[in-house]
């Protein structure tokens, strides 16, 4: 396929604005899949994506279409909309020349609409503005057109209208992609230059790399060289996504596809690396990707200490498919050997934890998440703290700094007051209000990251009846009055339960935390004392009364089986706990900090 008949584009939007459903229609319209194969949100092929109804991973697929008697290949990448998976979007953009920018006709411009549009502009992509879901009775396409023009600078006359439900406007999208998005610029006659934009590990075939060919071409038998890792491999198979992998002889300039090269070690592949030929190398590497900065950290430990190595392998395999999370070994007195992992947000953390458990069949214990702090010590040394455990003793701390974000809320005007109140209560600094239209506004605040990352989303959603959206960027670190809050269980400090909190919140948080823990730790034969402390000062205390009487009154012939099963169940429950001193602490308790407000 000549380069001028190839188009590479992605679909970007705020969460739930209909990207994957539009992709379905494009797959159907181009006969890429038969109706027998079809299922809704076809490209969301992970179980987790289907269960949650959201896209987590970007997926590529090659479509074939004919226009004016000529056949074209359209390489589409469907991206996720949730802010936590933003790195998937920026990686996809690097493999494309254009983007379909979707805005839900009933919702209008939202926080990630703005954020993703800027991202696409940074990558110099041609943007095709699209208003989606125009079939919805509550849709207001004309208002949305104005909002888009005002905030995103899109031209109303260039904006397409579609319904992925009725199929209205789908043909026009295909036409626009061919007419407006430029074909790839690469040169087929210079050495190979290809970008690794994603990868997965396959038990049988090793690492499968997902590529966008910028210059030259790639075929079976080629010896390839990866510039960053400095490794060479012999290509066994290349192909494209339809959306299943389909073998091809060659991947030509401008194409998007996959490559299998008997790569057994996942350490040999780095997403963002440039692939070239071993003998005939390209002069310069592609810029690649900036490693995203994790927003939250938490400890991940195997529930069973013996599974440490299984966990390490599982993390490595997963990181190949999701390079946006980080992990480093750490130890905890309470939990043993595990890893400190960094994530882009709480949903990301939740998804990784679930994928770990499912894809590697391992039980894990997770500690409460925290953001990264900076501490200036009295000897002027500056340390980064991604684990409350690493906070030095009080007298060694000169200054405690926390990450600050610029947060933009896009929301209906009537909720502006509510959100302002909200942000003020969380140490926010007001910056500005802009009106997208009479009915919608963008509110900007500077806020400590720790104040918005944990429960803020849910709270904001309910305060705005689901209409408020939020996007944020890290802008730096600022000094704050922070302290480490420790938890003692029967007099012993449990490192995995420590948190960093603002001094004004210590008492309330401490009290809530021990209360919550009390509800999660079951009674023992002895009294269990739970205390919250800052330094050596105890600020809250709860006791769990010992079991006084626990004895089945009646047990005759018919009761014996039932009784044994009951006791067996109790014993099974105990196995899943971490024993600290003599106290059995359930896995859930380590996450108590997250939900103390309930």
């Amino acid at each position: 396929m000549p380069t001028e008949r190839i188009r590479n584009f992605c679909i970007i939007a705020h969460i739930d604005h209909g990207k994957s459903t539009l992709a379905d229609r494009l797959l159907e319209k181009t006969d890429t899949i038969t109706s027998r194969e079809f299922r809704n949100q076809m490209l969301d092929d992970m179980d987790l994506e289907r269960e949650r109804g959201i896209t987590i991973k970007a997926s590529a697929v090659a479509l074939k279409t004919v226009k004016d008697g000529k056949e074209y290949t359209l390489n589409l990448i469907d991206t996720p909309g949730h802010v936590d998976f933003n790195y998937e979007v920026s990686r996809s953009l690097g493999a494309c020349e254009g983007a379909l920018l979707l805005v839900d006709a009933s919702q209008g411009v939202e926080a990630q609409t703005v954020a993703n549009t800027y991202l696409a502009m940074e990558h110099n992509l041609t943007i095709i503005p699209v208003i989606s879901k125009i079939d919805l009775p509550q849709s207001r396409p004309h208002d949305v057109l104005t909002e888009m023009e005002k905030t995103l600078g899109t031209a109303p006359e260039e904006t397409l209208m579609v319904s992925a439900k009725t199929g209205q406007g789908i043909a026009e999208i295909l036409d626009a992609v061919i007419e407006r998005i430029p074909p790839p610029k690469g040169d087929p006659n210079v050495p190979l230059k290809a970008l690794i934009f994603d990868s997965v590990y396959d038990e049988y075939r090793g690492v499968i790399i997902y590529l966008r060919i910028f210059d030259g071409s790639l075929k079976v038998g080629d010896e390839i060289y990866m510039i960053k890792t400095g490794r060479s491999f012999k290509v066994e198979e290349v192909g494209v996504f339809k959306p299943k992998m389909v073998v091809k002889e060659c991947l030509a300039t401008g194409e998007v596809g996959y490559c299998i090269a008997n790569i057994k070690s996942i350490h040999n592949v780095k997403v963002g690396d440039t692939v070239t030929h071993k003998k005939n190398r390209t002069a310069e590497a592609l810029p690649g990707y900036r490693q995203p900065i994790p927003m939250v950290y938490c400890g991940i430990y195997p529930a069973n200490n013996a599974d440490f190595h299984v966990l390490r392998e599982a993390l490595e395999r997963l990181s190949l498919n999701d390079s946006s999370f980080t992990f480093e070994p750490e130890t905890s007195q309470a939990l043993g050997f595990g890893f400190r992992c960094g994530f882009l947000g709480l949903l990301h953390m939740e998804i990784i934890q679930e994928r770990l458990e499912r894809e590697s069949n391992i039980n894990i214990v997770q500690t409460a998440p925290n953001v990264t702090y900076e501490i200036v010590k009295t000897n002027n040394e500056v340390i980064r703290v991604d684990n409350p455990e690493k906070v030095p003793p009080l007298h060694e701390i000169e200054e405690f700094r926390e990450p600050i974000v610029r947060a933009s809320f896009v929301l209906p005007s009537e909720y502006v007051g509510t959100i302002m109140q909200f942000a003020e209560g969380r140490r926010g600094r007001y910056k500005s209000t802009e009106y997208l239209s009479e009915r919608r506004a963008i509110l900007t605040y500077e806020l400590p990251l720790s104040e918005i990352i944990f429960d803020f989303f849910d709270k904001m959603k309910s305060a705005t009846r689901g209409y408020g959206t939020l996007d944020y960027d890290l802008i730096g670190y600022e000094s704050a009055d922070l302290v480490k809050l420790d938890i003692l269980v029967s007099g012993k400090r449990v490192d995995a339960l420590s948190t960093i909190v603002h001094r004004k919140d210590t008492e309330i948080k401490g009290r809530k935390l021990v209360k919550k823990l009390k509800s999660e730790i079951s009674r023992h034969l002895f009294e269990v004392v739970l205390q919250a402390a800052v330094g050596s000062k105890i600020i809250a205390r709860e006791t769990i009364r010992p079991i006084a009487k626990n004895v089945t009154a009646k047990c005759y012939g018919g009761d014996i089986t039932r009784k044994r099963k009951l006791l067996e169940k109790q014993k099974e429950g105990k196995k899943r706990m971490k024993s600290i001193g003599n106290v059995e602490i359930p896995q859930k308790a380590f996450l108590s900090v997250l939900s103390v407000d309930e």
Partner: protein, 379 residues
């Protein structure tokens, strides 16, 4: 490991599921029913008993319920006849019938007397009408006393009184009073059961909807301690978690269960345990009756214990007995010593003061109060 074959079952249990009214706390297999159905049911029992074909030599018989004493005189006569035909009179050491005060008449008592019954277990629960009402019992405190005297007058020399403690509005004094009245009557055996909130009972529904509140655990414990001390003081041995008896009057039949020995159960939902296999009859009375009627197998549940399960179940059940289990007996049955399997557990529990372990394995008093917690360690 070789499991030694026990001697064959020596205990026979017969279940009569019918009640005049279902009590709020009861999760036993019991229903309120009509006469015709009871007659049919007794036919079924008779058939099941005949199928045993005197394969076993029973030493104990226990008719439980439900309310066996609710049966009419004719029905009782039929039931007792069926049983008599299945046992060898000279072998019977203990033959118990459960009875409720109020449902016993002179004639019924006479029938018992004539047909080998030598022990009556009287479901008194409380002598105080306030408590009886709460529990949904249909008799009064006075009924209980009167029935007890009737039994004595008829010559019954082995009578048990069942009592319940730990009701939401019961005070420790109320409970003490119940114990005093029971002791005054001077039965041979007293069972004191802590009120239990079983799934699916009216009582548990009330608890969940907060119509009733559970009695504080510490008060309940105090009541339990009162029973132990007071009854001991009055000549009753505390021989099982909830059971007290004058010397020589421990319930032989129930001890079979606590030793995890073998038994045969007849009637709806009744369990049998033979040669390491536990089975239970169909739990629905209609299904049970139609199956017996069509000569079908009435078993609805069957489990073969693994040797490990058998051993640990035996320890757990035996720990209910204050005398626990002797290592010699255990060795004879299972071919190894308790400590061979549970060495670490025994050391830990001994250190915590919850068990004694020398020739016998027993619960300490401290262990007794948290017996369930201790027992999980022997799984």
């Amino acid at each position: 490991m070789i499991l030694k074959r026990n001697t064959s079952p020596t205990a026979l249990y017969v279940h009569i599921p019918f009640c005049a009214k279902k009590c709020c706390y009861c999760d036993f297999n019991s229903i309120v029913s009509n006469q015709k159905m009871i007659d049919q049911y007794l036919d079924g029992i008779d058939k099941e008993l005949r199928m045993l074909k005197s394969r076993f030599l029973f030493h104990t018989v226990y008719i439980g319920g439900g309310t066996p004493s609710l049966l009419s005189e004719n029905q009782l006569e039929k039931l007792l006849d069926s049983i008599c035909r299945s046992v060898l009179a000279s072998e019977i050491k203990e033959y118990t019938v459960e009875a409720n005060p109020g449902s016993l008449t002179m004639n019924k008592i006479g029938l018992f007397k004539e047909s080998l019954v030598n022990r009556i277990s009287l479901g008194v629960q409380s002598f105080q009408d306030k408590q009886l009402q709460f529990l949904g019992r249909i008799h009064s405190g006075n009924d209980a006393r009167n029935t007890f005297h009737l039994l004595r007058d008829a010559g019954f020399k082995n009578i048990n009184i069942d009592l319940i403690f730990g009701c939401p509005n019961q005070s420790p004094d109320d409970w003490k009073r119940d114990l005093e009245i029971a002791v005054e009557l001077n039965p041979e055996h007293i069972s004191t059961y802590a009120l239990t909130y079983e799934e699916g009972t009216a009582l548990t529904r009330d608890l969940k909807s907060r119509v009733v509140r559970k009695l504080d655990e510490y008060i309940e414990l105090a009541m339990y301690k009162t029973s132990i001390n007071y009854l001991r003081l009055n000549g009753y041995n505390h021989y099982e978690i909830s059971n007290f008896a004058k010397t020589g009057y421990e319930c032989l039949h129930n001890c079979i269960y606590w030793k995890n020995a073998e038994y045969i159960g007849v009637g709806v939902g009744a369990y049998s345990f033979v040669n390491g296999v536990r089975t239970s009859n169909e739990k629905d009375v209609f299904v049970y009756m139609s199956k017996v009627d069509e000569n079908k197998n009435t078993t609805s549940f069957r489990e073969q214990l693994t040797p490990g399960q058998y051993a640990s179940e035996t320890i757990i059940m035996s720990l209910r007995l204050r005398q626990g289990i002797s290592n010699t007996d255990f060795y004879e049955r299972f071919g190894y010593k308790i400590e061979d399997q549970f060495g670490d557990t025994i050391r830990k529990l001994t250190k915590d003061g919850l068990i004694h372990y020398d020739e016998r394995l027993t619960l300490t008093e401290k262990g007794l109060f948290v017996a369930d917690t201790v027992m999980t360690e022997f799984l």
